[in-house]
């Protein structure tokens, strides 16, 4: 049985036929895209129904986030959000909380709603908006209920007395220098390890983790995604993660597929060497199910996180003179890269600062000299701050870019003052240059680093407006068309799925995101607010009720 969907308009992302108004689907795949009257030969030859439920809607290729972290999301999503930025979640929009007073009011309200005795985890605190946090401030909300307030960056948290008691953390356990301020219930940077260890029974217990993954499933659907990439399977623990993902992210009720990209160092156990990696990664493919697929992909890590100012920068570096970090010695990154490059893998490298990107490109150039490859799909992940010269190198070496453009929105204002200065802060996410140089470029959320809302990422890329309302480097704004490519077909290329999804043409999966309005013609400032009406995954409709 074929189904003919009609629409107000269809955005195909197929340059040979960019627009259409009907799409014929059979057995989960697209039979034909175009106009109803041209499809008669198919309709005459096969039984079919005509579905006009989207006739006033706009059909886009299903959105793709090529880099997020289901495991981290599963830990975060069961928490309550109190955030300075707006977060759209399936169970409600989290409106911005931008003052200390509002933050306290929200804490009181959450405490009043929550069932007695249950610990209350809050995420999203940031001192720039919410003022100094501390144990006493949380005790004022409740000294009976264990409450944990997590910083937006994940790098610090605060507990009240009841939470310290629950986790059995005692004052005499805490040594000076441990990056713990016990009297204030404050655990930061390295001191956070202790807090997380003690909180694990509440965070990573199998039922909690499963509940978190269920929430992630909703988030992914509500973002309008039909495909995602888990860009570091094994981040916490390889086997337990892979098992939980398999039990929750596959099944008829799951409206998206997941490309699993293994964490390059997490797949090695005991005395296995880096050179054993490619064979082990190939074995993972045997676990593939319909929706969850490993591929010939691997994730490697270069420099530290952009959010924590640990990215490696070239001169003049950071304003305060601190240095970034390497996540592995460059020689080890090279050894990993060599093993996977020669084995024909698509390599994804987490690289955030321009020195990190420079190292990554130096190594890629070395690999190309050792063994030239075409269509290798080598991807720079995150792409926080780059130089114009690096854009040319990325093109010359045949690499592609998967960018977390949200950095620009959330960080460019503060980094221009307390980080790297205005020139470089305004030129984060140098994306228009990538398009001009014909580099395949995708947008990702790295969720939970940014909201898992492709339209939000597209909105930032098109408008380049930071949270303070300032346009940062208009020269690097994408067009709406480019931004939509970046969350559909280009993202499919990054995940090695472009033959199957990412655009609408005969033969691909019938993966659609159904919008009320056309993102290519609407006011660019409204892109992130466009209502997602439904998604269609392999021909099956999944309505969104919000």
């Amino acid at each position: 049985m074929l189904t003919l969907f009609t629409a107000k308009s269809i955005i195909t992302m197929n340059p040979s036929m960019p627009a259409a108004d009907a799409i014929l689907v059979g057995d989960g795949r697209i039979i034909e895209v175009g106009h109803e009257d041209k499809m008669q030969p198919w309709l005459d030859a096969h039984p079919h129904t005509v579905d006009r439920q989207f006739s006033e809607k706009v059909i886009c290729p299903g959105f793709i986030d090529p880099h997020l972290h289901p495991t981290m999301a599963a830990v975060l999503l069961p928490m309550e959000f109190i955030t300075a930025m707006r977060w759209k979640l399936p169970w409600g929009i989290v409106e911005p909380t931008t003052t200390a007073e509002q933050f306290d009011q929200r804490m009181v309200a959450l405490h009043a709603q929550k069932e007695p005795d249950a610990p209350l985890f809050i995420w999203g605190y940031h001192q720039l908006w919410h003022g100094p946090m501390g144990k006493q401030r949380i005790n004022n909300v409740s000294s009976e209920r264990p409450m944990v307030v997590w910083h937006r960056s994940f790098h610090e948290l605060y507990m009240n007395d009841a939470a310290l008691k629950m986790t059995e953390i005692n004052e005499q356990d805490i040594k000076p220098g441990a990056q713990v301020d016990f009297s204030n219930g404050h655990f930061y940077e390295n001191g956070l390890g202790l807090a997380i260890n003690r909180l694990n029974p509440w965070l990573l217990a199998p039922d909690k983790y499963a509940a978190g993954l269920q929430r992630l499933k909703q988030v992914v659907q509500h973002g309008g995604h039909t495909s995602i990439g888990d860009l570091a399977t094994g981040l916490f623990d390889f086997e337990s993660e892979a098992n939980a993902l398999a039990s929750i992210l596959d099944g008829d009720d799951v409206p998206f597929r997941t490309r699993l990209v293994a964490h390059g160092t997490a797949i090695l156990k005991g005395s296995q060497s880096i050179e054993d990696g490619p064979a082990l990664a190939m074995q993972l493919i045997e676990r593939n199910s319909h929706r969850l697929k490993f591929g010939k992909h691997i994730k490697l890590f270069c420099d530290g996180a952009f959010f924590s100012q640990l990215s490696q920068l070239m001169e003049p570096g950071y304003i305060d003179g601190h240095q970034g970090e390497w996540l592995m010695p460059p020689e080890i990154l090279e050894q990993n890269m060599r093993a996977y490059w020669h084995a024909g893998f698509q390599i994804h490298v987490h690289a955030c600062g321009d020195l990190g990107i420079e190292l990554t490109l130096d190594l890629l150039e070395k690999m190309q000299a050792e063994k030239p490859r075409f269509n290798h799909g080598f991807t720079i992940e995150h792409f926080g701050f780059s130089t114009p010269e690096q854009i040319k190198r990325i093109k010359a070496l045949g690499a592609q870019v998967s960018a977390n453009v949200y950095y620009l929105h959330e960080l460019s204002d503060i980094y221009s003052r307390e980080g790297i200065g205005y020139e470089r802060a305004s030129q984060m996410s140098r994306l228009a240059s990538c398009f001009t140089n014909d580099i395949n470029t995708a947008l990702h959320s790295d969720f939970t680093m940014a909201p898992a809302e492709p339209l939000n990422s597209a909105w930032v890329a098109v408008n380049r407006i930071n949270h303070a309302g300032e346009v940062m480097c208009a020269q690097e704004c994408l067009t709406a068309q480019q931004a939509l490519e970046a969350i559909t077909i280009n993202a499919a290329h990054v995940l090695g799925m472009a033959a199957d999804t990412g655009s609408l043409r005969a033969g691909k999966y019938a993966d659609f995101t159904i919008l009320d309005e056309d993102p290519l013609t609407c006011d660019a400032m409204r892109i992130r607010d466009l209502r997602i009406h439904a998604t269609v995954f392999e021909g099956k409709v999944f309505p969104l009720d919000s």
Binding site: G177, L194, K269, G270, S273, W326
Partner: protein, 318 residues
């Protein structure tokens, strides 16, 4: 009773500077006192002599050695590993750091409940250091590692002939005024391991307060008559069990000897400079005071300083 904190000796240093070779040397020579836990990044490059292995854990991440030490991989993060080994009977941790870690950051990570960072040594490859410190990507990192070290372990001196730190490491340099120059040891120096298991005095690490450290006490014997070396080594071998360390100088018929004893490992070597002969015995504060026994056993050659049985309290374990 106050629980004793386990001291951690950090072995840091950039990739290829000889950390693993050094740890392999310690394991092979069987010079570690018992109850030391050696935490390594992975077992891939570690050679543990099969004769020394008593038992291997189910998941293969912990190897117990016949001398009572354990060798453990750091597959999880450090905090998890500390929790995992806290049930084992150990009194010292030797931690092999990742090649890209900075000593100061490691020190804060080692302030985990039950542990404290006692000493941070950084391996320096005498042959390649000067080239590495100018590297575009890791030059700054390797220089910072050296600046933040308590002790430098100079490796590959046989290839390089000699080694000298460049002037830019001068402690007088503006942004390193709070640093003292790290003590340098050749990796082949037999004294190195004793030095590494000792706390650092007045060097880079500044404890926040005395409660930061394990609480140790000591008593001191002053020598008034030379002692035969054989007799001396017998006496050192039979000191009361609660004594964890002994150090000092002893006058013998063949000259002044430097004594260092950690656990069961003891070294007696000719001293290179004139020193007042005498020995310091270090034991956990909560253990019985061994002064009375020592006074009796060593009486022909030595006397208890100040002739009192009251031991000095050593909050900083030195």
């Amino acid at each position: 009773m106050k629980q004793r904190l386990i001291p951690i000796t950090i072995i840091s240093g950039y990739l290829g500077s000889g950390k693993t070779t050094f740890i392999n040397r310690l394991l092979a020579a069987d010079v570690l006192p018992s109850k030391v836990a050696v935490l390594v990044n992975d077992f891939g490059d570690i050679n543990i002599d099969a004769k020394l292995i008593a038992q291997i854990s189910d998941d293969g991440s912990v190897v117990s050695l016949t001398n009572g030490c354990v060798c453990c991989t750091l597959q999880d993060d450090l905090a998890n590993t500390f929790e995992r080994i806290s049930s084992l009977a150990i009194d010292h941790v030797l931690l092999e750091a990742s090649g890209v870690a900075l000593p100061n950051k490691l020190r804060t990570q080692c302030h985990y409940p039950g542990y404290f960072p006692q000493h941070c040594a950084v391996t320096v490859d005498a042959e390649n250091y000067h080239k590495k410190r100018q590297d575009k990507y890791v030059g700054n990192l390797v220089q910072q590692q050296v600046l933040q070290a308590d002790t430098l372990i100079i490796t590959k001196l046989d290839l390089a002939g000699s080694f000298e730190l460049p002037d830019s490491h001068d402690p007088g340099r503006p942004n390193s005024t709070d640093l003292s120059p790290a003590k340098q040891y050749s990796v082949t120096d037999p004294q190195l391991i004793y030095h590494l298991l000792e706390p650092v005095k007045g060097l880079n690490y500044k404890p926040g307060s005395s409660s930061d450290m394990a609480s140790f006490s000591s008593c001191t014997l002053e020598q008034h008559k030379p002692i035969d070396i054989q007799e001396l080594s017998d006496l050192l071998a039979t000191v009361p069990a609660q004594i964890e360390r002994i150090k000092g100088f002893v006058d013998t018929p063949t000259g002044l000897q430097l004594i260092q004893k950690v656990g069961k490992r003891c070294s007696i070597v000719p001293a290179d400079a004139a020193q007042n002969p005498g020995l310091v015995f270090i034991y956990p504060s909560q253990a019985a005071n061994p002064a009375e026994v020592l006074q009796v056993n060593w009486k022909p050659w030595m006397t208890l300083r100040g002739n009192h049985l009251h031991s000095a309290h050593h909050p900083e374990q030195s």
